[in-house]
């Protein structure tokens, strides 16, 4: 059994916290992109992923993903964190508890990502039921295939930090969710605009910051692959940003802020599968080139009738797909110590990557589609048209994001209604 390395452990503890923070960043990013009446509900969908993903992961998801070498699914040996302690996993240098927590934060943010497809109209209760089932049936299964000793990794497919279970899974699940839940009632009839571009930019910044733990921790230590992925996480989004600026300039003669925020996400996603496998030079090329198909899908999607509201498919599905294929082209054993890509004479690597790029989207799309149909048969997935018009903040949570307090009457705990007594103090 390998020994614990305290340096590795220290970096993985920090990385875990960085990735967890990404879910809050995503909440802010999503909240800024919706209308003001849905700010809290949108944010809360991400916050609920923290609760649901954290619990399902500890109970069963971790076990199904990382217990045993089953080709399709792991075992139940780690059910409810049974046998997960301070000892490292086989070949690892960090306590399994840290490994479990680190991987759990991936499950959480992936669940949160899917919510972008259904914001502004999905009922909060139905979302939570769906999220709990999805975190096990889709995330844990794909994580097993890619990271946990499943068949996809056995076929030789490389995925550094989650192109399969995080990016392609959330992107194509989002497409399925948008199709089943259906478009917002005003979609295609009214302009539905982001209400706070500053949130969007700040959220994207938090995501990029957290992504240094997401990619930089996916070497599961502080070794060369983590260092390479860390540096690439700085480079690829920078290049994606420049491409986005150029495309914005060509299309609208102006560089847009929300476009920039989107480009940051796209760049981070592009490098996610490839981070520890490709050279910094190729990582920059990936940023410049990989932004193109994502931009194309973002421009094309709103012209369709598919209200995949916050473009999870374009920013995560397509970018993850691009990154996982690109790595099959340009991986270099001299950088990663694992495998060369097609350009360096190893066509088989590209074939394995193509297999991953075909299988993960199909699995995520089909299972999500069926799962939502089943949940929808038990409970309504959508709010009524009236509720949608009023806004999900008041309907689902009884709160508003931008409350003024004017005219608010304090209701005393004894139930007595102190008429016309204004609420003077700020509730904070």
């Amino acid at each position: 059994m390998s020994a614990i390395d305290t340096g590795d452990t220290a970096w993985m503890l920090a990385s875990t916290a960085l990735v967890l923070f990404m879910t809050i960043g995503l909440g802010l990013f999503y909240a800024g992109l919706v209308r003001s009446k849905n700010t809290l509900n949108t944010f809360m969908m991400c916050v609920s992923a923290l609760a649901i993903g954290g619990v399902t992961w500890a109970l069963i998801g971790y076990s199904l993903a990382f217990d045993g070498e089953g080709s399709i699914i792991g075992g139940l040996g780690h059910f409810a964190l049974n046998d997960v302690g301070f000892e490292p996993r086989e070949g690892g240098t960090i306590p399994e508890l840290v490994f479990m927590a680190f991987q759990g934060t991936f499950c959480i943010i992936t669940v949160a990502l899917v919510s972008g497809a259904v914001v502004e109209r999905m009922r909060f209760g139905a979302w939570m039921v769906f999220a709990a089932l999805w975190s096990v049936l889709v995330y844990a299964v794909l994580a097993h295939w890619a990271f946990g000793g499943g068949w996809l990794a056995a076929e030789g497919a490389l995925d550094f930090a989650g192109g399969v279970p995080v990016e392609m899974a959330s992107g194509f699940a989002a497409l399925a969710a948008a199709l089943v839940v259906g478009a917002r009632k005003d979609y295609g009839r009214q302009a539905l605009l982001p209400h706070n571009a500053v949130y969007v930019l700040l959220g994207a910044g938090i995501l990029w910051f957290g992504w240094f733990g997401f990619n930089g921790g996916s070497g599961l230590g502080a070794g060369n692959s983590s260092v390479l992925a860390f540096a690439n996480t700085m480079l690829t989004p920078a290049c994606a940003l420049l491409t986005w600026f150029a495309l914005d300039l060509i299309r609208g003669r102006r560089v847009t802020a929300i476009g920039a925020a989107t480009a940051i996400i796209v760049g981070c996603v592009l490098i996610t599968p490839a981070g520890g496998f490709i050279s910094p030079g190729w990582a920059m090329a990936l940023g410049f080139l990989g932004a193109l198909p994502c931009y194309a899908v973002i421009v094309w999607r709103p012209r369709t009738r598919v209200d995949e509201t916050l473009d999870v498919l374009a920013a995560h599905g397509i970018a993850g797909f691009t990154g996982i294929l690109f790595l099959g082209l340009v991986a270099q054993a001299s950088w990663n110590g694992v495998a060369d890509g097609w350009l360096y004479g190893n066509f088989d690597q590209f074939a394995s990557q193509a297999l991953a790029a075909a299988v993960a989207p199909a699995y995520a799309f089909i299972v999500t589609f069926v799962l939502l149909k089943v949940v929808g048969a038990v409970m309504p997935l959508r709010a009524s048209e009236h509720e949608e018009a009023v806004g999900m903040d008041v309907v689902a949570h009884g709160e508003e994001a931008y409350v003024t307090g004017e005219g608010a009457i304090l209701v005393m705990p004894d139930g007595e209604d102190h008429q016309r007594r204004p609420l003077v103090a700020d509730p904070g």
């Binding site: 009236h386 009884g398 608010a408 509730p427």
Partner: protein, 118 residues
């Protein structure tokens, strides 16, 4: 000349704009206001503090029209804003002393009639 004021639900504001447009009413302004009519109070809770929100968000339309346009403006406002539930809002029609189009100095009828219709 009258000033037609409609105070409507914010979630109906777009339907009102649509129906005004269909009634060929062109010039208008809107503002966000808070008001209280006969509707039930909304109860919200903030960290243990429960409050009744006595004031609801409304959108206020102001349309200055010549006399012949008053009825269709009122009808369009009502049609766009009505849901049948308490809280749909009110429409007020008030006399208008004078109107001036700042750009040209046109007054009254000329000022409230869109240029293309004159």
């Amino acid at each position: 000349m009258k000033l037609v004021i409609g105070i409507v639900r914010p979630e109906r504001a777009n339907q009102v704009l649509e129906s005004l447009y269909r009634a060929e009413v062109r010039g208008l302004s809107i503002s966000r206001v808070q008001g209280h009519g006969g509707e039930l109070d909304r109860v919200e809770t903030y960290r243990g503090t429960t409050v009744k929100m006595g004031l609801s968000e409304k959108v206020r339309f102001e349309v200055a029209v010549s006399d012949s346009f008053v009825d269709r403006t009122v009808e369009a406002l009502a049609e766009g804003a009505r849901t049948g539930e308490v809280g749909d809002g009110k429409i007020f029609v008030v006399p208008l002393e004078q109107a001036v189009r700042i750009r040209t100095g046109d007054v009254d009828h000329g000022a409230v009639t869109p240029v293309a219709h004159q």
